[in-house]
Amino acid sequence: MTTATDLDRPAAPPAFQEVNSARRLKNRLATILVGFAFLIALAPLVWLLITVLAKGFEHVLNVDWWQKSLAGLTSRQFGGGVYHAIIGTLFQGLICAVIAVPIAILVAIYLVEYGKRSRLAKAVTFTVDILSGVPSIVAALFIYALWVTTLGMPRSAFAVSLALVLLMIPVVVRTTEELLKIVPDELREAAYALGIPKWKTIVKIVIPTAMSGIITGITLAIARVMGETAPVLVLVGYTVFINYDPFGGNMSSLPLLMTSERLTTNEVGEARVWGAAVTLILIITVFNLLGSLISRLTSLKTK
């Protein structure tokens, strides 16, 4: 009997013993607390989405909402749409991206591939860190002082884009930098071993490897700047008309439309504000989906 059990017994005691009840209790307690924290974090988000959709979704179902401006309507008249604001939001966001993305990606490439611990790289990293902490109103006032007061240019959508560039560059630099860092050095070394110059290695090997992540970072940054309110309040005037010219005249955008229409206290104003909120959320969702689609299409095949 005893010999049989001795034989059955494993030679060494198992690494993981039966968990005693105190530890199991602690585990369960921790699980509950973490789950609870998750729910608390989720609650405001879900609540916000439900409120916005419940109050605003019916207004965006109208075709006019997406194709017309509010021109010729007073704040007591229903109808019209927010096309002028959608155009403004897209123009400002995209112009900002066109300026900010190349600069930010080049800065990140410099930091990771060329600068590595040089004094200049440290200074750049420090500056980017400070820039990422700048509140949007400060960026807006800086551009106002520079663009409008000093250079004497008119307020315009382009000035808004410039302020958004200041907010976007640090975000994109940071994400791109992290993503370039995780590209394995073996890939670079293999390329060098084949005699490929450094710039070609970066363009053909490093960036494509990190591309999908970079694109995700860019779309997130665009989504962030599109919702910014401070720059549009300071740097461009409101209008109910469609304006395709980013360099002159007032141009509306969804956050600006919401702050302006909030002054209208009747149900027409409420409809416009909630509708614009839903529209902004939808546009940002589309951008995020587009980002993940592009990043999936551009990601490298791993066999």
Partner: protein, 375 residues
């Protein structure tokens, strides 16, 4: 492969953007609300359209609704011509005008000499004086919420006492004496005032000082000096706070009284109670006198507020369009004249629906003379 794919995706985005930008339109037909947009103008005048396509104006939020009506009329009279108005407050309006950023400034008070606004504006107009044109008048309502009471009359004197805390109960003898037949409850009065700096507060306090027969001992100014009650942000905030409470009272523009469906007190300036509305306010403006020189039409508010003309509701907010008498470039001058002409004529038709008072005839004539003189 890797290079081609993002290119095709970018192509799709570009195509989508083009499709989106192709179908936008400024052409609207008003639905719901009122039919004022399509109504035939009562006071049509020949307007010379032309000049700058998109005018820019900024200022007082109290005239936002009126400017919307004017812009709609301008678009009908002069198709493809626009005016964009940013309702960011009187202070911002004056500042942006004197900085030369906007073509027209909107303000609840005329340019002030003491603050250097007159000189700054003259500098903006290439050393020509800027004119204050009182184009938008709106009565200010003394709105209240008191269960069971929908008909309340106040005199300026009692109003001044309420807003400075001397009368603190709804059944105070001062109130019951002028409201015979109304049973007023033994409830505390909660005064709601504008917590932010505001032209409405400034005008309201000026009114109490001018008409209150000495009952208002505090100063005027953009901050409320009554020393009682609760502050609320903006007219919208005041309207919300009045509607949410019981026994509350506050001062807000007529359009907010209408939008929030609040009760407003009648004002008895000595010759009978007059209800808040276009008629009473128009009677008051008719008797208004000017203290500006020539075409600079600054209203003598003290005289207006202290008047006790029968049938007049003197608690009126006069808001100005601030323009250059000369010194615009020719294109801008032409468009400014066209817009103001439309605003003073065709645009007036829709004003009553928007919570403002159409201009009396004599006043309109004065304004049109001034507008025609802009060069």
């Amino acid at each position: 492969m890797i290079i081609k794919r993002p290119a095709s995706v970018l192509g799709i985005i570009a195509a989508g953007a083009l499709a989106l930008s192709a179908c936008g339109s400024d052409a609207n037909t008003p639905a719901g609300g009122s039919s004022s947009g399509a109504a035939a103008p009562t006071n049509s005048a020949p307007v010379e359209c032309g000049g700058k396509k998109a005018l820019v104006a900024e200022g007082s939020s109290a005239q936002k609704g009126a400017i919307e009506a004017f812009t709609a009329a301008y678009g009908v009279k002069c198709p493809d011509y626009q005016l964009s108005y940013t309702p960011s407050g009187s202070g911002a309006g004056v500042k942006q005008f004197t900085a030369g950023i906007v073509d027209i400034g909107g303000s609840d008070s005329a340019l002030s000499k003491d603050k250097g606004e007159v000189d700054a504006a003259a500098q903006r107009c290439q050393s020509n004086p800027a004119w204050n044109l009182p184009l938008v008048f709106g009565p200010v309502g003394i709105a209240y919420k008191l269960d069971g009471v929908t008909d309340l009359t106040l005199t300026p004197e009692v109003t001044a006492k309420i807003f400075s805390g001397a009368v603190a109960k709804w059944n105070d003898p001062a109130i019951t004496a002028i409201n015979s037949g109304v049973s007023l409850p033994d409830k505390a009065i909660t005064v709601i005032y504008r917590g932010d700096e505001s032209g409405t507060t400034d005008n309201f306090q000026k009114y109490l000082k001018a008409a209150g027969k000495g009952a208002w001992t505090k100063d005027a100014g953009k901050k409320f000096n009554g020393g009682v009650g609760q502050g609320a942000q903006g007219s919208a905030g005041v309207a919300d706070a009045i509607g949410a409470g019981d026994g509350t009272i506050g001062y807000i523009e007529w359009s907010y009284v209408q939008d929030k469906k609040l009760s407003a007190a009648k004002i008895d300036s000595g010759s009978g109670a007059v209800a808040l509305g276009a008629e009473g306010a128009a009677n008051a403006i008719k008797s208004a006198t000017l203290k500006g020189e020539g075409n600079d039409l600054v209203i003598d508010l003290d005289a207006l507020y202290a008047s006790n003309t029968a049938g007049a509701y003197p608690l009126v907010l006069a808001t100005y369009e601030i323009v250059c008498s000369k010194g615009y470039d020719p294109d801008t001058a032409k468009a400014v004249k066209a817009f103001l002409t439309v605003a003073a004529t065709d645009g007036q038709a829709a004003l009553a629906d928007a919570g403002y008072v159409p201009l009396p005839n004599e006043f309109q004539a004065k304004l049109l003379t001034a507008i025609a003189a802009i060069a």
